[in-house]
Symmetry: C2
Subunit: 255 residues, 2 copies
């Protein structure tokens, strides 16, 4: 275990840069924070480059950290790396998932995301997709960076449970079509009531931006547009809530 | 229309105080922000005390503001009152809803909240309850203040569509029992799969704190504990997403 006391140490400077999307994309690495996320990353064999711990943090005996290098830092350095008000003593630098990890095949289930902007919404969608047994989450262009700290925290480890990858939606749509996977898009207009949907064993659900929804181009590519019935006076549902309702409905009604 | 240019004006000072829960509770009033929320408040006849507009904001002709007094303020004052990065030119001071507005009666649908802490989660639950046609949302002790600006923004006007009131959960539970309304509580332990639930025409759904869930006391009071099946590797769902899935499931399966 190596110890760092100066915040001008080059490693510390490099880790701080990972708080920006630009540096994350350049290096293909990202930071996660807190014992729960680090434990999930370890348990699911994520590509962990280093652990970073605060001086008084005890690594739990149950963690199998193998040969992953550990850096010990001061409380002040940990604070400077953390995006939360109360840092929890442990972080990790991880390598990003590869889009090769997504395989389109008959019977599989996907969530496709077109331009969701709020990090909390994206994280919650990933967690929800995981709960609903989805095989992979595809992030189309214009979607907020999944390696943003707030996305990671909201996703609560689900990014380590299933592939969550950036991909051209065109490629994802073709992957679905070529494998008989029914592609549903959420839409408030010219859409069928979700309760009438009858997916094949596999399905893909395409959800869109908080304000403008799924882009016309992808609505046209969908096999069917679905709407969640509104029984009250709200105009629409939050995108993460809508994803949850639809995934469990499709799960329920598939042949 | 009266105009205020000085931020030491007593009205401005009073409005600023409404950014604290203490002052909101003392006065029974709260601030809302942005044209969408103000329009919803006007459309649903909320108790609006004043409108506050920035000097270059044009009140849309479609707004029926009746005799509500309007104060015009400088851009600087508006910024000092706003909790958002980009103030949208209009705010309103409103009076809080009364718990008398909740009526327990056979066939009605309720959401009961036990200690939800995140303002975004509470706002999203209210929006979701509105979408699902719930009759009222009951806020038990320990739940984040509904008049917090972030709750209001996440609820997107739904607080004006249905009663959302603080109430002792004991009273709410009794209201349900006395009217034959099936009370379901969410729980990860000793719970039935939600797909087996078969509510009466009326039902109440009790959801709990993000970390600790529904308190033991209320779990015992419930007619049935429900769990959403997890098909993947996530441990649980976000509370607002879970509320959405359960409300639409109960809506679907009720007799």
């Amino acid at each position: 275990m190596k110890r760092i006391e100066s915040d001008s140490n080059p490693s510390v400077k490099q880790w701080k840069k990972l708080l920006t999307k630009k540096e994350r994309e350049k290096t293909g690495t990202f930071l996660i924070e807190g014992p729960h996320l680090v434990e999930e990353a370890l348990s699911y064999n994520a590509d962990i480059h280093h652990l970073i711990i605060e001086e008084n943090f005890q690594i739990p005996g149950s963690w199998d950290k193998g040969r992953i290098p550990v850096w010990q830092v001061t409380e002040k350095i940990m604070k400077s790396l953390s995006e939360t008000e109360k840092p929890q003593g442990v972080m990790a630098v991880c390598g990003m998932a590869d889009s090769d990890s997504v395989v389109f095949a008959p019977g599989k289930k996907f969530v496709l995301i077109d331009g969701v902007q709020d990090p909390g919404n994206l994280g919650t969608i990933i967690r929800t997709a995981d709960s609903a047994g989805v095989d992979a989450v595809i992030l189309g262009e214009g979607t907020v960076d999944v390696y943003n700290g707030k996305v990671m925290r909201s996703a609560q480890g689900s990014v380590f449970h299933l592939p969550v990858v950036k991909m051209d939606l065109k490629e994802a749509v073709e992957g679905c079509k070529n494998n008989g996977i029914t592609l549903y898009a959420t839409s408030l207009k010219e859409a069928s009531d979700m309760r009438e949907a009858s997916p094949n064993h596999g399905f893909a659900l395409l959800v869109g931006n908080e304000g403008s929804g799924v882009k016309e181009e992808w609505l046209k590519a969908a096999d069917e547009k679905l709407i969640i019935p509104i029984f009250g006076k709200a105009e629409s549902l939050n995108v993460a809530v809508a994803t949850g309702i639809l995934l469990y409905e499709l799960q329920r009604t598939r042949k």
